[in-house]
Amino acid sequence: MLTIQKFKTMIAAAGVDIRAEEKSFSELDAASGGDGDHGTAIVTAFNAMQKADGAEFKGYLKALTDALQNEACGSTSTLYGAWLQGMSDAAPEGASELDAAALAAVFKGGLDEIGFTTKARVGDKTLMDALIPATEALVAAQAEGVPAMLRQGAEAAAKGSDATCAMRARFGRAKNLGERSIGPRDAGSASMACIFKAFAKTVM
């Protein structure tokens, strides 16, 4: 079971780790032909999310979405906004605890919604390269319980992000770089992997 309290701690822990790596995310963004601000963007997103609160999952996730969409800007906030919105939609009404199956459904809902917002999929060198395998691994590990789900999600996210180094960008600001986008890791996948790692650490 995952309590809403624990989930808030997961979000807070992710915020801490994201802030610690802010500079490296911006540098990755610049190195891969972006505008060098992904660290700034994801930290701004977490700063906005800090203001959200709620006693149960649906409401808290919705509050996170609203905070992001109203106070933050940029692709990252839009994509995270969609992700959290999808999670909120999939969360059972009024629940302040989620069992493994409900948690899997929440993450699946999040992935579905972000998938409506962007056409990027695995192989396009975006945060989807971390999020899609992470969600799949997490859902697949349902039988093993919440901590295992998050651990396997984190591992899959890290592997997915690693794989972006060899990819050519096809979405976002780096897409025109062509061949030259091959080499550096995708910034958005790196921050996504960082978040899943923090989630896993928190429930260990």
Partner: protein
């Protein structure tokens, strides 16, 4: 090392610059709800409203083109970051009218996502709104699919054309036709000489070697694939105008608009020298070059470089370009 910029808290850049804009050009624009720039004197509600959206950090674009004869509103994000969909939707609601709204979106992932979501929501609410997406950057090749071509400073003459058509009382359908026809006949190519500094985090964007320039650079420092040793102004102009002519299809007897948009540190001296050569090449081909523009319209912080914009003009476009406009940074 401190950033060599005149700023305060980097978190407040957008807020403060928009306040400055509204103070300096108080006769033309004002700021509402923190991130929406509108005209001081609104256009009559019987006319189509023209709205755009995009990140800050490109001043005077985009908000500097709000004003009589051009935009009714610009929805501003943060530095190089699209505004969120809720802010776009809020603006669409503000300008809801029977005549309808034209939303002009530059083709960048963040802007497109926000615009699409806001559009869907607005249409559900019964707001009459149509979107035009600009994608006139030919750096990825003239034949690149439209979705993969970025929107650069070509949005500015487009604002002028659709703004004038709206002012003239054209219907939304007519304006969309006029605007898409203009959109399809313009092309832009950028070149950068130096990188720039992100004003929020102080990081370097798009660093270039001391003896190189890059043709095809995007307007946030996104690379474009055309690295070369520094060329002379005339060679650069020649190299850039050729694919623009190909992309727009301008030929002898046509009328064309040529704009050199400086992106930051490149001097107007240089832009005028480049304009000269490009205009001479067009004239030599028998193209009639109407009065154009050289200046900084859509910048990338203090990056050195420029965008060259070529538009093949139909007679109505030429007239709309000449019509009265009174935005802070574009007047006619």
């Amino acid at each position: 090392m401190a950033m060599k910029k005149f700023i305060n808290d980097p978190a407040n850049l957008t807020k403060e610059l928009l306040e400055g804009l509204a103070l300096c050009y108080s006769g033309r624009v004002k700021l509402v709800n923190e991130k929406i720039v509108v005209r001081t004197t609104p256009k009559d509600e019987s006319k189509v409203a023209i709205i755009t959206l995009g990140g800050a950090g490109h001043e005077p674009a985009l908000s500097g083109f709000v004003g009589e004869g051009m935009l009714d509103a610009s929805v501003v994000g943060d530095i190089f970051a699209a505004p969120g969909a809720p802010k776009v939707l809020e603006t669409l609601r503000m300008f809801k009218r029977e005549a309808g709204i034209l939303l002009v979106t530059l083709n960048h992932a963040g802007d497109r996502m926000s615009a699409s979501k806001a559009l869907r929501d607005a249409q559900k609410e019964g707001i009459k709104v149509v979107e035009i997406v600009t994608h006139e950057d030919i750096s990825a090749g003239v034949d690149t699919p439209i979705d993969d071509k970025r929107g650069l400073a070509g949005c500015i003459p487009l604002y002028k054309v659709v703004g004038a058509a709206a002012e003239a009382g054209k219907s939304l359908e007519e304006i969309v036709e006029i605007g898409e026809r203009f959109n399809g006949q313009m092309a832009t190519l950028a070149v950068a000489m130096t990188g720039c500094t992100h004003p929020q985090n102080g990081g370097a964007i798009a660093v270039l070697p001391d003896d190189e320039m890059e043709i095809g650079m995007g307007q946030h420092g996104e690379a474009g694939g055309g690295r070369t040793k520094i060329l002379s102004a005339d060679e650069t102009a020649a190299r850039m105008i050729a694919p623009l002519v190909q992309a727009t299809g301008v030929k002898a007897g046509d009328t064309a608009l040529l704009i050199i948009n400086g992106v930051g540190a490149t001097t107007l001296m240089e832009m005028l020298i480049v304009y000269r050569k490009a205009a001479q090449i067009l004239a030599a081909k028998g193209v009639h070059v109407t009065p154009g523009a050289c200046g900084e319209y859509l910048t990338v912080q203090e990056m050195a470089g420029f965008q060259m914009i070529l538009c093949k003009l139909d007679p109505d476009h030429a007239d709309y370009l000449k019509a009265k406009a009174r935005s802070p940074y574009w007047t006619a």
